[in-house]
Symmetry: C2
Subunit: 333 residues, 2 copies
């Protein structure tokens, strides 16, 4: 049994609870197609990592995870809203093994479906006020909103990178910070607030999740460059062909000779690059040490995340969060 | 001097205050193109009817309009978010005399720009908490969210109508209720809450604005069918050619002979309908009494709106709201 098995079971248990709650919130109203479109990706699957962060962070500060369920659901709903809109922006046709919302219903319904989910995030949070002080709810709403703004900024940065010739490591981290880590950060902050954590605990758990989110994204990019087609769910070299500026690419371009650089740039953003050219470029990402560099960076963020949990007393929830980070890293092997 | 002049001046005064506040909230951050796109339609103009409703409703219950400024701004931001996304969904290239956001920056930036505005609605509201009780802010957030959900539903209904052969009056009112009246309703409710109004006052002002919103939309549809190209800003018969199912069309189709029905349906949704055919169809909307029917309906909603204000003591703000309804109706003459 690999490390991933108990955590996978725990993710499933928490997912079942969240999914039941979300289903209640998205009961069809008129026009039904809008609600169908909004539920589509949620029903198609997903690991529910973000709700898991909310629930376990709530428990780490001694709170009752049941009280956090609506907030965990709200953050999963927010995540799915961003997926629907990102898929339109990135022109992606498949996700979680199913057609994306716009591929199935067209762009207008996909835009409205995403907007509906975004509104539902707030409906769920304000509706969950009963068990919590109004100030705590407002604090949660503020942090979720801040994350939503960061996601918009990160997504537009991501969209702009393929057409820029000079993207720095700093740009890359600003982009994944906005697109991925800000939401992770909000999840743990909200969980800690709902659990009654003090300001220092809230910031610390937020920092944990931020660093874990950066590690998660770095691993995602690493897998995008190394996994085979079956694991990846899309052709090898897709990231290269799409012109994505991952840390791997940025490192490689910064360390390549003029000739090597030319070989990488030949396939970067070239949808019709030949498999042979992709193989050559992929080989360079390895020989230039760029894959190792990204992996090392991911490990550093993962360690930083885990280090931030040290001051918390031992608990099952704390061990779960530490294991979650290991699980992010373990996907590589 | 027509009735519209003092109200136009008052609208301008209140708009100046709101615009300054909004500008502060949308100060460019990175990536700047996102903020530029988000500000585009707001900077292009608009009458700021919704903030006006917020401020005057606040005063009608004895509140200080200055406290309501952030909420008035939030509701204008929400309105502009929906315009950006609606323009994508409706494939509209021009609004307020400028290219729409997606026409200028493309669909991805327009989606993200709208999403950013939607998030800003909540940032502004939670940030305005100082002068108000937390419970009042939460109440406002709930009502704004409810309106946002109605707008999504109304927009999808609107999108679906051109392809439906049988749209009833009830369907039409459900659609404009969601697309237009729900936001008007939220504006006056929020204004009344911020102004310290009791539950009965909040509901009554909300009802006023709901009915005024329905009247406003009916007049808009009337103008869409009768105004000349210059007033309209688009070719005569555009609504017909786009296949919009306004109350006018629904009435006409329900009262036409088989032959007349055929003449209307020939241009309904036919982008390339000839000017002659459009003129024939337009003539039928008049001779079947459909234009008068819509106008009568608008007048009825306007009277209902004004009637709901009766119990409030006389004040400048109350007179302003009554005049606003007259101004909606006056656009016809």
């Amino acid at each position: 049994m690999s490390l991933g098995d108990p955590i996978r079971m725990k993710l499933k248990q928490s997912a079942a609870k969240i999914d039941g709650f979300i289903e209640e919130q998205l009961k069809p109203r008129r026009p039904e197609v809008l609600y169908e479109a909004a539920r589509h990706l949620i029903e198609a699957g997903g690991k529910r990592l973000r709700p898991y962060l909310v629930l376990r962070s709530c428990e780490v500060v001694g709170g009752d995870a049941d009280v956090a369920v609506p907030f965990a659901a709200a953050l999963e709903i927010l995540h799915n809203f961003t997926l629907i809109h990102d898929d339109i922006m990135d022109n992606d046709e498949l996700r979680r093994g199913v057609p994306t919302v716009h591929a199935r219903w067209g762009i207008p319904i996909a835009i409205a479906g995403g907007d509906l989910l975004f509104a539902k995030v707030y409906e769920v949070m304000t509706g969950a006020a009963g068990a919590l002080s109004c100030d705590s709810v407002r604090d949660c709403i503020e942090r979720v909103t801040e994350a939503a703004i960061s996601i918009c900024e990160g997504q537009v940065l991501d969209t702009s990178f393929p057409s820029l010739s000079d993207v720095s490591e700093e740009d890359y981290y600003a982009m994944i910070g906005g697109k991925t880590a800000a939401l992770f950060n909000a999840c743990s902050e909200v969980g800690a607030i709902v659990g009654g954590g003090g300001p220092e605990e809230v910031e610390r758990l937020g920092g944990f999740a931020w660093n874990a989110g950066i590690a998660f994204q770095l691993v995602d990019d690493y897998l995008g460059a190394t996994a085979d087609e079956e694991t990846l769910g899309k052709p090898v070299g897709s990231d290269l062909r799409e012109g994505k500026k991952t840390l791997i690419i940025i490192h490689a371009l910064g360390h390549a000779s003029a000739e090597e650089r030319e070989k990488i740039e030949r396939v970067l953003g070239a949808e019709d690059a030949s498999p042979g050219d992709v193989e050559v470029a992929n080989g360079l990402l390895k020989s230039l040490g760029s894959l190792d560099y990204a992996l090392e960076s991911a490990r550093r963020y993962a360690e930083r995340a885990k280090g931030l949990l040290e001051p918390f007393p031992d608990s099952e929830a704390k061990r779960d969060l530490l294991e979650l980070v290991d699980y992010f890293m373990e996907r590589i092997y």
